[in-house]
Amino acid sequence: MHAFSYHKPSTLGDALSLVAKQSEGKILAGGQSLVQAMKLRLASPTDLIDLSGIKDLAGIKVEGSSVTIGAMTRHADVENNADVKKMIPALARLAGGIGDRQVRHMGTIGGSVANSDPAACYPAAVLGLGATIVTNKRKIAADDFFKGLFETALETGELITAVTFPTVKRAGYIKFKNPASRFALVGVFVAETSGGVRVAVTGAASCVFRATAIEKALTAKFDPDAVPADTIKADTLNADLHGSAEYRAHLITVMAKRAVTQAVGK
């Protein structure tokens, strides 16, 4: 790991001025992705700005029919939160399936969403539920947020403060786990929302995306058997030593069926 300077601001204002000053610096949330990337020298920030001292950034709030989760809320706290379990059970289950318990004690929703790892779980829930990413500057709709491989709509110096999830009629998330890393080889999040059916796919391409053909079929009938086969062309998908693009295309159909089965509680 290359040398860096460490900062631990206690207010969002201090964090933002540090971020503005240190152009080659990086935000540190749980460190579960960043510290490993730094050890491999895939990232070599000059400064780390640790957000864990900012109390307002962690916590879960219910407002009307939406749930707002602070950026520094750990995966384990989402997994075990009574409101999330009651209002969006699929989200609590998704958080409880990330990595392992040690990772869930440290990793945060803000870090996961900002990272936009192609195989990460939270992006599927954010896009599948049509959540809103709240930053220090603005609110970004999930549909406009994930831009590509480790790429998001966040600008330089912009920081996620929270993610707001609407409650939905029903939802489900199933991933086919990479047996070594527990990341999603393919994960599918389905939700019946007030604005229609949404289906988000992670693990299969450079970043999470919506499977519109499956959405259309599920709008007609929200049932596992309604999921059409092979609607996603393999040539748009990832291929690696864990699975070919054709295999991933097939998995999307299978995971989507299982996610609907979970959502309808069969």
Binding site: Y6, G31, L48, Q102
Partner: protein
């Protein structure tokens, strides 16, 4: 560059002047000389480096020491009684042949203690899922699962 880091380790306040890039596990092993915490993979996969931070199991190879500033850290050296009596979870591993070479054991025991807290009747599925982040290359896990089930019951006594 260096920075002062302070925390409580196994009940004792400690502080050290370290480079910012020092990992928590490096501080524990090389500065504090508590070598019971192991490094198996150094890539967040194996869990041999598991310690408790404020009561929760975390992988000490996957965080810089400064992330534990002010925290209460417990390592495998800190769980037996002062007179050397093994912690019930350690005793359960011994009784149930939950270890062979012992390399993974400190991480297994630390994760198991956290998992078993308030859960005396862990099911096999709960234990196996709870061990997602810990790898063992010797035992085949069966006796580890047995040990944790017994340890969890013993902890509640």
């Amino acid at each position: 560059m260096s920075i002062k880091v302070s925390m409580t380790v196994n009940g004792k306040p400690v502080s050290a002047q370290v480079e910012e890039r020092t990992l928590l596990v490096t501080l524990i092993r090389e500065e504090l000389r508590l070598t019971g915490t192991h490094v198996g993979c150094d890539t967040a996969q194996c869990g041999a480096c598991t310690v408790h931070m404020n009561g929760k199991a975390v992988k000490s190879c996957s965080m810089v020491a400064m992330q534990a500033e002010g925290a209460n850290i417990v390592t495998i050296e800190g769980i037996a009684a002062a007179d050397g009596t093994l912690h019930p979870m350690q005793a359960a591993f011994k009784e149930n042949h939950g270890l062979q070479c012992g390399f993974c054991t400190p991480g297994m025991v630390m994760n198991a203690i956290d998992l078993a807290k308030g859960n005396p009747n862990l099911t096999e599925t709960e234990i196996r899922e709870g061990l997602e982040g810990n790898l063992c290359r010797c035992t085949g896990y069966h006796n580890i699962v047995k040990s944790i089930a017994a340890g969890a019951k013993a902890m509640a006594k």
